[in-house]
Symmetry: none
Subunit: 221 residues, 2 copies
DNA sequence: ACATAAATCCACCTTTTGGCTTATATAATT
DNA sequence: AATTATATAAGCCAAAAGGTGGATTTATGT
């Protein structure tokens, strides 16, 4: 089989260089281009016309999802293999709907990548086994014990929680929302119950875990 | 100069393989071992006796900080270069106190890594320029507006604050630190005064703003 | 030796939370 | 019409946090 022409898209130069070294020396693929984010990748795409792209999800400027979407609009027959980390689980469904042909973990090895490239080039899909196992495990654990999440909270409760995250107490929140402090207390009690938190500081941690507050906004002060 | 014997510690196999390929083909170092987390690394350390370790921060089981600490206890003359990402800023000062010899960004290239390895092997420290710029930018913006910062807190106060950030109350922290709840209360009062926070939830926000807690650790639950 | 900072602990008191229960009005659903 | 979810509000009591003012011991530095 013909060695595929590929582009590597990842924001870490050393990772791209290492991967290129591997793919070249192991005679797996021709690395005809590199990009450090989605914008660079899209700019290169029609010019280089690669057979296949190895695409990282977590990148600045334009991430892997948007990149894949745009790339497939421009070149519908492009093969895309996503390089993913465990924590990216949220994206799998979106991506597979887009037409991405493979997912492979960064924790897998070059031999698995080689197989993935071969399968995808033959028109098959490839999903890292370890990754499939993870997703299945996650689905089952999500069904059994339904972890508390923001989806259980009412709009008003979220509003109260966000004000708690500003460091306000019941009375202050009450003034801000034009309701009684008792009501705020009710909402807070319901929040504690729904989230399973043991105290108000815990609610802040919950909000952060569930990305209800923008940590970057806090960070500047 | 003698090519150093090194160990690569990173949780992504493909990254290790790529880096090994690069370091070997470019004739920079002998990769005598690999580990995918801190535990594996520590287990290998005394057996392989490397000159230098390339250590990732963000790993499961035992992270880079703890690993560096343990490794330096076992082998005080070990050279350590930390592989870091921008978002790991919180760790720099802890790490440099431990005796880590270099920091390099994953977004730098093999040529910079080569220079870092050479410098560190000669007993010098190496800090990625881009990284220094980042830190300095951060420091200056912290110094101009003299807001309360972690530098005002004593070690014990920081310890208490970190436990507050786990959602524990005075009594629980007292048990954990083997001191009286009254003492914890004193520390918390001092924390409130020094930070200018109005309540305990505020302390959590302060800790996050000042990057005293690892948000990623919270993220798993 | 002395001053200073840090860590430890206690008492007293007020305010705020936390847990439990109840209740009403409204809107959406069945 | 009856049920359910939501938002609102209140009462009670216990627990925790917040504000003051102390006190002792242990390092640390000059």
């Amino acid at each position: 089989m013909k060695k595929p022409d590929i582009i590597i898209v990842d924001d870490h130069l050393i990772f791209r260089q290492g991967l290129k070294s591997l793919l070249t020396n192991e005679n797996i693929a021709n690395v005809i281009g590199e990009a450090s984010d989605g914008n660079e990748f899209i700019a290169l795409l029609l010019h280089l016309k690669p057979d296949l792209v190895l695409l990282d999800i977590d990148m600045p400027h334009m991430n892997g999802i948007e990149s894949a979407q745009k790339a497939l609009e421009l070149m519908p027959d492009l093969k895309i293999i996503i390089f993913t980390m465990f924590r990216d689980e949220e994206y799998y469904y979106e991506m597979s709907n887009l037409g991405v042909m493979g997912f492979i973990l960064k924790s897998s090895g070059i031999s698995e990548l080689e197989r993935a490239i071969q399968e995808v080039m033959m028109g098959e899909c490839y999903f890292s086994n370890e990754l499939l196992r993870r997703v299945i495990k996650n689905l089952s654990s999500k069904n059994t014990r339904k972890k508390p999440g923001i989806e259980d909270l009412t709009a008003r409760e979220k509003e109260v929680l966000q004000n708690i995250c500003l460091g306000l107490n019941d009375k202050e929140i009450a003034e801000k929302l034009y309701i009684s402090p008792k009501t705020v207390k009710s909402h807070r009690s319901n929040l504690l119950e729904k989230t399973g938190c043991r105290n108000t500081p815990g609610l802040i941690l919950f909000a952060i875990k569930n990305k209800m507050v923008n940590i970057k906004l806090l960070a500047d002060g």
